[in-house]
Amino acid sequence: MSTLETTLSTVRRSGRHSSMRRQEALEGVLYVSPWIIGFVVFVAGPLLASLYFSFTKYNVLRPPQFIGLQNFTTALTKDELFLPSIVRSFYYALLLVPLAMAGSLIVALLLNQKLVLKTVWRTMYFLPTLTPLVAAALLWRWMLNPDVGLVNYLLAQIGIKGPGWLSSIEWAVPALVLMGLWASVGGSRMIIFLAGLQDVPRELLESAEIDGASSWSKFWHVTLPLITPTVFFNLVLGIIFALRTFETAFIATNGGPARATWFISLHIYQNAFVSFDMGYASALSWIFFVILAVLTLVQFKLSGRWVFYSGAR
């Protein structure tokens, strides 16, 4: 490059020329504009709209009527299904999340070893995630059939009388947890763990080995602390997704038996798209949103205590 070209490119790069900066800004906004539109029309707009609707009585046929906080008081005091549905969703999440996190991590650890046929194993593990949840739910519904299903048959082979699963009130939620585990353990959460594991510097592991550390010790003292950011990421999203579960419950049990699996998502769906009580459903979804937001915020606040970011800060 000649001196002239170097100077010109320096001037361009420093962008000190204000009209060039303006042009850059304009072009940038232009490129981002599809998302600006998308964000306003499909995210921010609906968000504000649903907030407005939550203060109204709105059944689509007639214009919304402002009723103040009535939807919220009904939800929290008079709706017999709402509060239990929150408890049930939390119960489901409490069972699912620890198992799912541990499961994904273990699978990621396994697949992180030097194995033959790695792509084959990875595909096999990822398979459940590739199937439509609908298909998985219907399939498991059939496999968990208490009388002729595969699961109880296998249990009988080892002398255990299988429970009623999706037909029994006590076992319905655990049955859904089982389905949720199968459908997600080998999935994208596992791949994210895998990526996090591959980031652990080999030198650290090797020096631990030289110091005589066992495999378990290496994992507990070196690997685990270094992957806490990955664990945190998966945990935050995992909890949100667990609490939002809809499809499996909708398809496999439709909230039954006797409302045993009536989750928040089903309640909102029912009020919005079956009863068309849009105002009330909006209020419900906002309460749910606030719960999720608070939960996420709490996790972020607590993360300072256990998440270790190895990048210099």
Partner: protein
Amino acid sequence: MRMVRGRSGRAAGIGLLTLVYLLVIAGAVVSMVPFLWTALSSGKTVQELYRYPPTFLPEQPQFLANYREVFTVAPFGQWLVNTVVVTVLSLIGTVLSASIVAYGFARFRFPGRDLFFFVTLATLMLPVEVTLIPTYLLFKSFGWIDTYFPLIVPSWFGGGAFNIFLMRQFMLTIPQDLDEAARIDGASSWRIFWRVILPLCKPAIATMATLGFIANWNNFLGPLIFLNTESKYTVAVGLRYFQSAVAQGSAVVSRPQDHLLMAAALMVALPCLILFFVAQKYFVEGIVTTGIKG
């Protein structure tokens, strides 16, 4: 220092490796068994499916008959076509708009850029329930209910926060010197995007396309809410048709059709399977580069 490990260390190493293989195989079996079961059951008769103890292999295999019946008992072929159309159109929109938007975030400075990007990320945590109702009403006011527009159009306006995030992180890893060189040659920003940046984003695009295909193909809630006419269903919603017992008061079925369900489910899962197996190596690479993990 190396003398510390010695022979016992090696034996323990082999023992551990064996354990690992055992666990991997066990886990793979658990993942696969439902599939194998589905595949085998898709060739059985309905009565055989409800036999106890359950049979493994079909006694009188009728794979061909079952698979053919899937297409006659329900407009399954039509549903497949519908799903392909919706998926492909959404994918094209996603890839194009997410790349363009990410280019804006990655290569240009404008006021509010970082704040807007942060807000974009925050929407990933937003549960769809809060925006679903107004979005539905919005589409209703456009007259788009029972059409494919609600399923396709949003993809063309950014393609979603996740994809923008993915592409932007990836673009940030491409050195600016290439941009500079092109600019000195007189290229416009669009040319730089189209000729320089985009071709280098192939791994990220492959990841985005694969994940997007799977998500669209399997999407249930969208078609459930926005489509009313049976012939317009996608396969995800249509699968429920083959359900024998109760559920959501969907189509009236006069007899149990679980064997057809198995066949249909397998056919629905197959395209994603093949796609994943082929595109696999871009996956982990794609996620590693975005730095999502940390």
